[in-house]
Point group: C2
Chain length 398, copies 2
């Protein structure tokens, strides 16, 4: 176990302009103009954005401001490198100077990859496999349609390379959106499974920051706990009534705050659950949140002996588990069980089997996680884990 | 009682770059350069910034980057209009294009006023008495020396007009600092009274946002509560040991988060305590925080019948008062008493008498508050209050 560190020095810069609330998508043109865009690529996924009329409203808003645009649909969950290459070519051909993502985290992440790739001479994948750092990118704006990834307020992007199905992320302040439009009403039409997967993703972003070796970080601990309690309050309300605007609104702001890193500053973070999940969604093509629901309890149970009082703290403060002073481990474990039960109550899966996998996949999952795409046999987060340990954790998800 | 409103539409834009931690003041030159400054006015208060060597370190950092500077010291607590006019003249004469505030909220607020005034043809006071809105200002950077006002991350500024001693505020995104350097170690040499007054100011910024007519705002409620609990945990630790870096660091980040408005978005706010306090510090020239310690319990006790369950909620969730389900009022009152006792334990005053005033001042305080500088006889916050009501609240502070 590595030594604990006290609150670290940090830089924090989150200059995204947020327009939050009903009908705000009609301001897309105004905001693109404010941030200097003259030729836009509208990037989106598939049917729902088109069917709901959202895409038309965004186009009308651009047209009203006299802003020209090209468009590129077809983003899939766990967005693929192939479409990124296509987007880069299209932007160069059309002289695009602004990316407008209309969709969820996948669409935003794909837009960020395109934005960085357009201004880069090499292969954009260099940013994702760690060969290069994103120093500049075309400006990106977003019209968010699901509360989940937090990509609307972060500098992060995750892309899956089709050759080998490696899912990898990059991060840079250059990738923070110039503006993000957050209209909670746009999320009211989401299927329950996607809503629940989004809530799970937000919860994971909070746990990944909570599990730390840095001591005496009360302010960020408390902020993380605040956002967790918001999800616990609002999650069941929105599953019960998908049209609950207020619950959607609270979750949407929580999703942004959970990942713009204002509650993760100055402390070491974990991200083991995300690393392990990336292989689940790459292999099973499940929703990222569904994979996280399976991964988190297994990862946290493995980490528990190394962070007993921290898991007891979240159990007591957030989940309301009574503190067992004679046996803190029981409190810590009760908190992980409460998390699992909460996610199940939202409709999330508990096992790899529910994702469509089986024990036969463990070796492959572990192999790609630890050795894929230049891996050195270990992964690094709150713990440093080798392939044997990773396989053990994957087996606990069966 | 006006009708409750649900989570409102809002815009949020907080593009300040934060450099947080030990020795970060040595990056002042680098950061001024990054944000385009070529000729700086260093604005500061008095002795401590000079005696501690901080001013010299900041100057050395500017010189290292080849950035020219003028300087203007002499900012007092409750900063005055006279020095603002002087600063505006100096900036114009010297061709200054960047304001660098080295100090606390007063110095930062004075810098913002100068920054706005330099680019304005009329009297800068127009922005503070409501005759004009700040559309543009010179860029401002800060090196913060006390956790209190939150001006390092906000677009707000409060200035006292010497003629009449009117204390008034303005706000605009154009006044948000380009960067702020937050080194908790710089706050370790503060006298206990100033430290305590700073914590009180932060607590007030949280209560002013908490007291709202907007319903179903769980996410911002929880975030505010998180920051309150941070102060309750760290406040006594830093009073006990002024050199506790970690406690200082947690309070410093909480102070910024409390006032950059990420936890106040989409909800009506109060600010009655601040309005009433402004007349206290204008008349008695006390620390803003000391005045707030006197004002808050009286204001909240007056508001309590109109927001019973809200005051019960903060009492229970933040102060740990058991919820009295048969008599929520007793819980709500216990929370206000817990706040008062917390502030007293830090060394803050409880009464106008302790500020050096007496009953004879009530009429004057009320007169200036309600009718001074163009006032119409009422003040507007969570409640709309007339002079009779304001006088009653002031009397409760005796």
């Amino acid at each position: 176990m590595r030594k604990g560190l006290r609150m670290n020095n940090f830089d924090f810069y989150a200059p995204t302009y947020f327009a939050f609330g009903k009908d705000q998508e009609n301001r897309a043109g105004e905001l693109v103009k404010r941030f200097g865009g003259t030729k836009v690529l509208i990037h989106y996924g598939g049917g729902s954005v088109v069917r709901s009329g959202l895409l038309d409203r965004v186009k009308a808003s651009l047209e009203k401001e006299g802003i020209a645009y090209a468009e590129l649909g077809g983003v899939k969950p766990n967005p693929r490198s192939g479409l990124v290459y296509e987007g880069i070519d299209l932007c160069r051909k059309e002289g695009v100077d602004f990316l407008l993502a209309v969709g969820g985290g996948s669409t935003i992440d794909s837009s960020k990859a395109i934005a960085a790739g357009v201004l880069y001479d090499g292969d954009f994948w260099d940013f994702y496999c760690g060969k290069a750092f994103v120093k500049q990118a075309l400006p990106v704006g977003t019209v968010l349609t699901i509360a989940a990834a937090g990509s609307e307020g972060s500098g992060d992007s995750v892309i899956t390379k089709e050759e080998g199905m490696f899912k990898r992320g990059t991060g840079s302040n250059a990738l923070r959106p110039k503006f993000s439009i957050l209209n909670p009403a746009l999320t009211q039409t989401l299927p329950p499974h996607q809503t629940a997967a989004g809530i799970t993703d937000i919860m994971a972003h909070l746990y990944e920051r909570y599990i730390t070796r840095t001591t005496e970080v009360e302010v960020t601990d408390r902020m993380i706990e605040a956002l967790m309690m918001t999800l616990i309050h609002e999650g069941p309300r929105v599953i019960e009534n998908p049209n609950n605007y207020e619950a959607r609104a609270n979750i949407m702001w929580a999703g942004m705050m959970a990942h713009n890193n204002s509650c993760g500053v100055g402390r070491s973070q974990d991200w083991i659950s995300h690393m392990m999940e990336h292989e689940l969604s790459a292999l099973y093509d499940c929703a990222h949140g569904a994979g996280l629901a399976v991964a988190m309890p297994a990862v946290f149970s493995y980490e528990l002996p190394h962070a007993m009082m921290r898991f007891a703290q979240v159990a007591n403060r957030v989940w309301g588990c009574p503190m067992d002073f004679a046996n803190p481990e029981s409190t810590a474990k009760a908190g992980i069980e409460a998390l699992r039960n909460f996610l199940t109550s939202l409709g999330m899966p508990r096992t790899i089997g529910e994702l469509g996998g089986s024990e036969a996949d463990i070796a492959k999952l572990t192999e790609v996680l630890c050795y894929g795409d230049g891996g050195n046999g270990t992964i690094n987060g709150f713990l440093k884990l080798d392939a044997v340990q990773c396989a053990e954790i994957y087996r606990a998800m069966l």
